[in-house]
Amino acid sequence: MVQYSQGHFDASFGALSDATRRGVLEQLWRADASITALAERFHMTLTGMKKHVGILERAGLVTTEKIGRVRTCKLGARGLQEEVAWMEMYRQLWAARFDELDMVVEELKRKENVNGSK
């Protein structure tokens, strides 16, 4: 089981509270990208994307590096931990979902037994 602290989430919660920023993180989990490419992908201005990336950067979720005229964004160390935590939360979502599925299934089994024993 992955260990993580609640405080860790509280700290990055603000950065993660925005759909675009979550999208940017997801994008960077797949591959590094320039701010220009991210702006295009999310149909927003360069200035708007710079603002989002800045927030993610301050939260330690993303790092950026300027090479020539291009600023490339990649997942920060925190972002990588975040992925592990994200997977754990995704697992918890499914575990909770399946627990409720169990209840529905048990009910169906009982009904079938009742009908079958008539």
Binding site: S17, H43, Y90, L93, W94, A95, F98, D99, L101, L108
Partner: protein
């Protein structure tokens, strides 16, 4: 009294495009399949109660080419998830698209019955990098929206375990 160990849910990122969830359910495949394909049953478990999300409607036309549509109400706004069933093999396999993100993510669920129990494998295939040079974030809105809810519920329930 004997305490039976719960069946474990596992999640694995098979590649940067694939996420796989597995779980065994203590029932034959035909029963589990029924719970996945009848809207009145599906809506009872798909959104865990701990979520605080309100499922306001759930329509499912489970046949090849049929559509599904789930609508949630949360904090006054509505979220919709919808798509098309690509494959429907009774008691064995379901494949659907997630069209709220442009139809680029495909979910495959297989039902494998072993000794009266069913091994469920839920496989999400996200768009390839090549296939979606533009707007490929698509894949995640659903799971990230769900993550949001989970974050919120984890934050509010101080300790659940």
């Amino acid at each position: 009294m004997e305490v039976s160990k719960g069946n474990e849910t596992t999640v694995e990122r098979k590649s940067d495009r694939e996420l796989v969830v597995t779980r065994t359910v203590n029932a034959p495949a035909r029963i589990v399949f029924e719970a996945w394909t009848k809207a009145e049953l599906f809506r009872r478990w798909w959104v865990p109660k701990s979520f605080g999300l309100n499922l306001v409607s759930c329509e499912m036309d489970v046949r090849v080419g049929g559509q599904y549509r789930l609508a949630f109400l949360h904090d006054g706004s509505t979220m919709e998830f919808f798509g098309t069933y690509l494959e429907v093999i009774p008691n064995s396999r379901l494949v659907w698209t997630n069209e709220e993100d442009g139809g680029q993510t495909v979910t495959t669920v297989t039902f494998d019955e072993i000794d009266g129990k069913t091994l469920l494998v839920v496989h999400d295939l996200y768009p390839s990098k090549e296939a979606v040079e533009f707007g490929s974030t698509a894949a995640l809105p659903e799971s990230l929206a769900q993550l949001d809810e989970l974050l919120a519920s984890l934050g509010s329930s101080s300790e659940t375990n």
